[in-house]
Every structure is written in structure tokens, then in C-alpha cells.
Symmetry: C2
Subunit: 412 residues, 2 copies
């Protein structure tokens, strides 16, 4: 039973690393849990580009931009960290070009922390003619059909060049549903790849290393990824073996891929419990506003999802009173703001009627204004979650939030 | 010969109106010329939504939005007035819906002055199956094929509902090249339409009027439009007859439609000279940065053009050292800002390499960042023009500006 409020400093995330190597990495990463309330954790981690308060939501900056926004706005909305997609940046404009620009932060003009994924998920979801072998994933670019081989080592090298503050290991992404055998085999391969990723990172840091890999962020941290599908015993095995390799933080992958929501919640719950209390837990690719609150309640510290930005561009808006589909004719003469409780630029300046007009007219500012609002809603939800943990009112907040947000107007 | 510095207040623009009617309109419009230098005029006009300093450039807000920007940015860049397209707003979302929202300013959330065109230009350039009769222009919507009749009276009514600060008369838009006979007939029809527009405005203001026209800006001014193609005697005739009808300001229409640049400049020169010194002169639809400077030198006070915004979305950027086509591979590793002399958000935060990447990757933020820069370049050019007139250095500025801006890199 963990104490309700406690503080534990984990310097340099080297604890796990010592399990299988005496090498101590120079990783400028530390995580502190400052308070807990009903399973939810309030914390913060330090990176070479600053502090991130958790629970945190990371807007997705796929190709070096958070779609339909400027970084000025992403910053003003309070995002402390964004996610970059290694697959996209590797293919265009290329990790080597980005390294020559001084790394991803300098190239894109974002000075706060960045987490990069490994590229694996896009290889499995976007690339053409992919062949997965023990060595790695061979695929053709969705852009020009060119052939590429993404190995665990290359995933580490690419992210070293990008210079993100947190790099992810390459994992095999299982499709849902999967048999237990497939899930087990895939999880085992992911474990072997995770070990190779950690070895590669240590090699890049400690030996002269291959001359062609010039890292741009010597304080880059590396997170492992727990797999195992919806089979909790496989998840448990994955947790133990991944933690034995030792990383600065741990992600739960392979969820939010079509499984029933209760399954996702229960896997998150049991998996998060088994992960080290002193290190950050990142649920990859989730989710709805309700998912954020429910998974914070299950001990998750970090989230990323394209939902707020993608839905915004499709006219789907999150509000404190449920979801709005701005295309609906009912909003044509609605002079109210999207969300009367929201203080974002869009809600302060524009009506539903105007936003509907912009959407129907195909104006780019529809995407921009909607994205500002949805990101504001997500980031504001994370702020409210953190406040609730501080004030020990998380459970009340959770009940009230689910009650109000889950209301679905008939047009949603 | 006009004095180098003089000041002349023209209250309510009623001077011309008295020519053919004793009715004095309640028009909250006045124009003051504060200084002149080598043909260029420094002035300002007052509208119900505030002051506009001239020479002024009006960003085009076609459908109630300046494409790829938020109004916050348009304001921050220093735009004091924007243009709205009556044709687009009439078709979608409709002038009556906008009137029910309280007018265009309230509907779109822009509190500074707005000028609306009459819709004529889009009927001639965009609509399908148009038939021009003395009564007006019959056309089919480019959106849904619905049939519409735009008469001079309807153009006034629609703009009254939109509630812009400056409304334009409906004119017939001549294609280029045109014979003298065609140009004369078209100019004469435009004159008759201008008279009907003025009569309609007076009727809306002074009599109970038709019950279905609820204006949303009782201080709306109305500008006449000089036509006549490239035939200066027709232009002269158009000036005299339009001024005899009497408007708060005068536009030069039918230029920047394909005629040689020298022809445009000489028509602008001779036409502007003939227009009243005490009222604003607006050159419609022009132009390049060079055109702005050259036409200010010929006495023009107001401009609008889609060039900065449209070119931005196509990757064509204006800089103090000539134009840049950001698609060009030469910029792939160029860490410099677009324009080292520019202080806009884009130039302060991002490199050419990043802007090229965003453009090649099809990111919406490419359009947004490029539009910010191009609008900044245009609005900054107007500021520099106004400063030069104040300091009596307009001629030096003009020479230096044309020398530097007209440099065309080989990729332009």
C-alpha cells in the first residue's frame, strides 16, 4: 500500500540500468511523485529542455508541427511537451538533415521537451509491404515506395539524431484481436528488441561508436514499452523483463487499438500497478477525455493522442457539456461560444455560428480555431486533474467530469 | 498645384451628394489628408469602427476570414481594415443570416473597419452562366448552381445587411482587352448602376424603406467606381459623372486584369489626378509590392489584393531581397529566416529549411506561417510608405524599395 503523499527522487533513471550493466548513463532525466490521490499520481520530470508536470498530455506533432497550429499557441495553451513521429521525420525531411540543423528542437523552433516514438507504429499502420524479421521491420515508404529497414539499433540512432528528450524503444505492434500465441511471440520479440535498443543507446553514449551517428541531445532518456495484448499474464511477464533491462520510464503499448474499453482499463490498471512506482508511466495513443481521467485514476502519468487535433479538423469538438459536431445545421444561428466554460481564444472570440460557417466554407481557420479549442480542452483537463490531486478531490472531480463530459448531444 | 502639406476635413462625404439631392446622409465617414510628398498622400479616414491610416492595404477576408490566419494575427500585424466579399457571403452563409447575427463585424469577431465589394467582380469571374442585363447580373452560384439576380439595388441591400463600414457600388466588370465601344458601353452602364446604388442607399436611410432590409451599420459609407478600361477619355468621363453622383470615396476599377503594367500605372496616374483631392482613392485588386509603392506615388490611398495571402499558400514569399519560392530545394538546409530584415513571428522563430519542410509535407502551418509573413511584408511596406511621406523621403524610399524588392532570385 503506497502512502497517500510521498516524494521519491529517482536520479538519472539508472536504477533499472544497473540490473544488467554497470554503465551509468549521463541522462538528464529525473522523475518525482509529489502526491497521490485515489490512485492518481501528481509528479514532474526533468529533461534537458525543462520540466514536465504530470499527469501530462502530449499534443502530437507528427511531422514537426502540431497540425493546424503554431507553436506559439501550443505553448500558450500550456503544453509542456509534444510528441514527434520518428517514422515521418525519418522519411521527410530525414533525421540526418535534422541533425545537421542541430536537432529537432532547433529545426522546428520548439524549445520545450519532445518525446519521439520509435517509428514502429507507423511502420505497422502506414507503410507498405512491410516484412517483420528478427532483425527488424522492412517496409516501403508510403511517400515514394522507397525501401527501408528499421532495426532496433536504427530506431535508436534516428532518435539520437533527432535529439528528443525521451526516445522510445522499437516494439512490434500487434494487431487486435490476436491469439495468445501470437501475442506471446510478439511480446517476446519486443523484449529482445528492447534489449538491443538499450544496448545501442549505451554504446552510443559510452564508446566512440559508429562515426555516422551524431546525437544532438546527450541527455536523452529512453523508455521501454510493455506489450502482451489483452493477456494480463503476458503483460506481467513483459513488465518484469522490461524493467529488468532498465529504462528511465515505461510505456504501455498495444492498447487503444480496438479492444473493449473495459478491457483497456483493466489491462492499464493491472499493468500500471506492476510498474515501478518511482518512474513515469506512459499510456501510448490514448485517448478520449474520459480515457485520460480513467487512466490517471489507474496510475498513468503521460498520454498522447491525435484525437483532439484530428477531430478538430473534422469538426468534432470537445466541451464541458459533451461533444459537438460543428457541421450540424442546428449551430447555423447559434451565437454561443463552443463551450461557455472555456477560456480559449476560440471561445472568447467566436460563436458556434461562425465556426460552422468557416467549416462549411472550407476555410483553413476552421481547423485552426477548432484545434485551439480541442487542445485547450485536453490540456485544461490535465490541469484540472493535477489540481484535483493536489486538493485531494480527484475522486469527486472524476465523477463530475465523467457525468458532464460523457453527455452526448444527439448530433455527436 | 497642390500644397506639399495641407489638411482638409471633409465631413460626412456629403459634398458630392448635394449635386443631385438635397438629402444629407448620416454617414460617419470623414477623410483627412495630412501630408503629401512627391504625389503620395498621407491621410486617415474615420468609420463607425475606427480610424484607418492611409495609404492602407486591406487584407482580403473573402468568406469572413483572412485565409490561413486568425484575426488576432491580422490585428497584431497592424491591419486597420479588411475586405469582405459580398458574393461569397451572400451565397454562404447568407446576408440575412449575418444580419440576424448583428452584422458582419459581430458575426466574424472583427471589430475594426470592413470594406465590402459589391459582388460584381466574382459574378463576372466565378459564377456560372451569367447574363448581364440593364436590370442587373443574373448568374448561377458556383456552389450549388442556384439562380440569382444581382441588381444594383440588391448589392446595396446585401451590403446594408452585412453592415460594412464602406460599401461599393455594383459595376460591370469589363474583360481585357476590350474595344473602345465595349468599354464605353460598359462604363456607361456602370454609371447608371452607380446612380441606382446611390439612390437606393439614400432611400434605405431616409424613408421607411422596404421592410426586409435591416441595415446593421447606419454609418455605412458608399464608394463609387471609375471604369473605362484603358481609354483615358472614357476614364475621364467616368470620373466626372461618378463624382457628380457623389460618394464618400472613389475607386478605380477594371485594372490589374492583364493590361501591361505601364498602361495600368498611366491610367492610375491620370485618373487619380482627376478625382477629388479631398476624398479617398482606392485602387481595386492591386497588386504587387511594387504596384503599391508606384500607385501611392500616383495618389492612391487604399489597396486590396489576394496576392500576399494566396501566394503565401502557394509557397511564394515576399522579402526585402526579392521573392522566394520556398519549394525550391536550395532552401532545404537554409537555416536563415525568410527575410533577415523582417520582425514577424515566422521570421523570428523559423528557418527557411523548416518552412520548406512544412510546405513539402503539406502541413497547414505552412500556409499559416507563410501568410503571416507575406501579410507582415505588405502591411510593413504600407507603414514604411507612411513614414516616408511624414519625413518627406518618399522618393528616396521608392527608389530604394524598387531596387531591393524587384530583385528576382532565379527560383522565383
Amino acid at each position: 500500500m503506497q502512502p497517500d503523499v510521498w516524494e521519491l527522487e529517482v536520479g538519472s533513471g539508472v536504477r533499472g540500468l544497473r540490473v544488467n550493466t554497470p554503465t551509468i548513463l549521463d541522462v538528464s532525466f529525473s522523475f518525482t511523485v509529489r502526491a497521490t490521490d485515489c490512485g492518481a499520481r501528481l509528479g514532474q520530470f526533468e529533461t534537458p529542455h525543462g520540466t514536465v508536470h504530470t499527469p501530462a498530455f502530449m499534443p502530437v506533432g507528427t511531422q514537426g508541427a502540431v497540425k493546424a497550429t503554431l507553436f506559439r499557441d501550443v505553448e500558450e495553451l500550456g503544453a509542456e511537451i509534444i510528441l514527434g513521429n520518428t517514422y515521418h521525420l525519418y522519411l521527410r525531411p530525414g533525421d540526418e538533415l535534422i541533425a545537421r540543423r542541430g536537432g529537432l528542437h532547433r529545426f522546428i523552433g520548439w524549445s520545450r521537451p519532445i518525446l519521439t516514438d520509435s517509428g514502429g507504429f507507423q511502420v505497422f499502420s502506414l507503410a507498405e509491404r512491410r516484412v517483420i524479421r528478427e532483425e527488424g521491420a522492412e517496409f516501403q515508404s508510403h511517400l515514394d515506395g522507397s525501401r527501408h529497414l528499421l532495426t532496433p539499433e536504427r530506431a535508436v540512432d534516428i532518435q539520437a539524431r533527432l535529439g528528443s528528450d525521451i526516445a522510445m524503444v522499437l516494439d512490434e505492434c500487434l494487431s487486435y484481436p490476436a491469439t495468445r500465441d501470437d501475442a506471446a511471440a510478439s511480446m517476446q520479440r519486443s523484449l529482445r528488441w528492447a534489449g538491443r535498443c538499450r544496448d545501442r543507446l549505451i554504446m552510443l553514449r559510452t564508446s566512440p561508436g559508429p562515426g555516422d551517428v551524431t546525437g544532438t541531445n546527450p541527455g536523452q532518456a529512453q523508455f521501454g514499452i510493455v506489450q502482451g495484448g489483452t493477456f494480463q499474464d503476458l503483460r506481467d511477464e513483459s513488465v518484469d523483463a522490461t524493467v529488468a533491462i532498465g529504462f528511465e520510464g515505461y510505456a504501455i503499448g498495444g492498447l487503444s487499438v480496438g479492444e473493449p474499453i473495459d478491457t483497456m482499463y483493466s489491462v492499464v490498471d493491472a499493468t500500471a500497478r506492476r510498474l515501478p512506482e518511482s518512474q513515469p508511466r506512459y499510456l501510448m495513443g490514448a485517448g478520449t477525455p474520459e480515457d485520460l481521467v480513467e487512466c490517471v485514476a489507474r496510475g498513468i502519468d503521460m498520454f498522447d493522442c491525435v484525437m483532439p487535433t484530428r477531430n478538430a479538423r473534422n469538426g468534432q469538438l470537445f466541451t464541458s457539456e459533451g461533444r459537438i459536431n460543428i457541421k450540424n445545421a442546428r449551430y447555423a444561428e447559434d451565437d454561443r461560444p463552443l463551450d461557455p466554460r472555456c477560456g480559449c481564444y476560440t471561445c472568447r472570440h467566436h460563436s458556434r455560428a461562425y465556426l460552422r460557417h468557416l467549416y462549411m466554407a472550407g476555410e483553413m481557420s476552421a481547423g485552426a480555431l477548432n484545434t485551439l479549442h480541442n487542445l485547450s480542452f485536453y490540456l485544461d483537463t490535465m490541469r484540472r486533474i493535477r489540481d484535483a490531486i493536489v486538493f485531494r478531490t480527484f475522486n469527486d472531480f472524476r465523477q463530475e467530469f465523467l457525468r458532464s463530459v460523457s453527455r452526448l448531444p444527439s448530433d455527436a
